[in-house]
Amino acid sequence: MTRMRASYLTRRRLLATVVALLAALLVSIAATSLVGPVHASLRRALGPGGPSTPDYVIIVRTRLPRVLLGAVVGGSLSAAGAALQALLQNPLAEPHLLGVSSGAAVAGMVALIAGADPVSPLVPAAAFAGALGTMALVYLAARAHGRTTPHAILLVGVVCNAIAAAAIMLVNAIASYAQARGVLFWIMGALSTQSYALVALVAVYALAGLGWLVAHAQSLNLFAAGDEGAQQLGVDVEGARRSVFVAASLLVAAAVSVSGMIGFVGLIVPHLLRLVLGPDQRLLLPASFLGGAVFLVWADAAARTALGPAELPVGVVTALVGGPFFVFLLRRRLARTLP
């Protein structure tokens, strides 16, 4: 087999990869801010009297915050996915599997039905609270004798998801038509904001979560040796597992609260990067964050433009692109491992 990567992670490779992906992200943010169903000129927007031109309003007030939000959400989902795949030792683990997202969706919907204004900050706040509640529930339910296993976390998460899905259907059935439309937002996932304050809030939060995960990157690598193996290599397994579970859940909670359940980002981006960069989490976590940001920024640009003035939910784009691509990756791997 040809060697696809170096035999271990050096500082130089880590820096070079992060810088390259950061550059790709900046270019993507700039390029996608200029893409949309309506033409807007950057020159006019930044020229004399710029702030009063419609171009300025379109690019700076409407598109850019949305693009930035997409970057933060994509990065959060993707980094959380990479961490969860290592934590649960399961390549199919993804952010929405832990029940956290469904918890957010149920709480967000209940807030809507209870009469909260769809654009008020009350809905994401309720969703965030719902996510945290579900996270605590999953963790406690998966614990026995002060210990958890990846298996138990995964199973309880899947069960919570099923219960939440039923709850969503139930609420949907008793809600009015207008309220029920809000459900789609959670199920499909969509990006929209005109608030830099919201973007900044989520970004600070996401970077803190990423930092927390990266601080545990070496423990996540050692989880590959199994629970006992990791302990024998010096990892406080239960403490590290709790930390990573909480950090990943918080990242997912923030992302879902502002964008609904955007699927596949947390699954395909870490997978693709792992193929190219190898499994070392010290590289994979920051790379997944930046790669997920790039991916979602372009997916959202496609969602905004594919159907002309009409908009697709970005979750539809990520699923349509991500699903087949994932099957392709899987088949390639099967072809390699099966005789």
Binding site: V214, A224, E228, G229, L233, G234
Partner: protein
């Protein structure tokens, strides 16, 4: 001299069934103690207790004279390394990455491997005869190569105590001997104390300074191989007629289970 590792009166039960019932054992620096016994006699449980991943229901394990329970995980990992029987491993890591994991307890949590860590790991891979494989993912290695890489991971921990749980199960004769040759060299150079669980009683006799025979969760015999490996003791422990011969070259007993058909 303080034993490198010492266990006293270990009791452990799974679901109320006692697997170990008052097992004591001590290893001096540089010594190789073999643990033998029939399947299910508690050998692997003993290794898990000695490495601190299981806590005994009674009794204590002391590492360099201090109870294991008083150590932090990282501290234990700097002094004690384990080659597990059924290693669990993500096969996409390269051989060198796996060996470098053994340096983790010596590094701050956020640090990348330093130049010296890479040098130590490459030297160990060379010593184990797998230097050329450093860039290969684990799923591209044979069983024997993989076992040597995992031994490498334990060796770069630079432990005072090395626990080996049936390290030669999947290995041919040459590699069986090779593994213990490396272990012998490490014992001489660093004074590492080694406890090895062995399935192959003759191999245990040939390579170990001392043997502990476990049967039904208790120590059924302990001492130099020639003293422990008697036909009576082995027949009783394994429940099968056993012939014990002598190899003048190895200066050690050779053990053969005859079976019930009366070979």
């Amino acid at each position: 001299m303080t034993p490198a590792l010492e266990a006293e009166g270990l009791v452990f039960a799974y679901d109320g069934r006692r697997v170990l019932d008052g097992v004591s054992l001590r290893v001096a620096p540089g010594e190789l103690v073999g643990v033998i016994g029939p399947n299910g006699c508690g050998k692997t449980t003993l290794v898990r207790l000695l490495s601190g991943v299981l806590m005994p229901h009674a009794g204590t394990v002391r590492l360099a004279g201090r109870p294991l329970a008083g150590h932090r995980r990282r501290e234990i990992a700097r002094r004690l390394a384990v080659l597990p029987q059924d290693p669990h491993l993500d096969a996409s890591f390269t051989a060198l990455e796996v060996v470098l994991m053994g340096r983790a307890p010596h590094l701050p949590p956020l640090a990348l491997p330093r130049r010296e860590d890479v040098a130590i790991s490459r030297a160990v891979l060379a010593r184990l005869g797998v230097a050329a494989l450093e860039g290969r993912p684990l799923d591209r290695l044979s069983g024997g190569e993989r076992q040597r890489v995992l031994l490498g991971r334990a060796l770069v921990q630079e432990p005072d105590v090395l626990l080996l749980d049936e390290p030669t199960t999947h290995l041919d004769l040459r590699h069986q001997a090779g593994i213990y040759d490396v272990v012998d060299a490490i014992r001489r150079e660093r004074g590492t104390a080694v406890v090895s669980v062995l399935h192959d009683v003759s191999l245990a006799a040939a390579r170990c300074d001392r043997l502990v025979l476990l049967a039904a969760g208790r120590v059924a015999g302990e001492g130099p191989p020639a003293a422990v490996l008697t036909a009576e003791a082995l027949s009783a422990a394994y429940g099968v007629p056993v012939t014990v011969g002598w190899s003048p070259e190895a200066r050690a007993p050779i053990v053969l289970a005859r079976g019930r058909s009366g070979v």
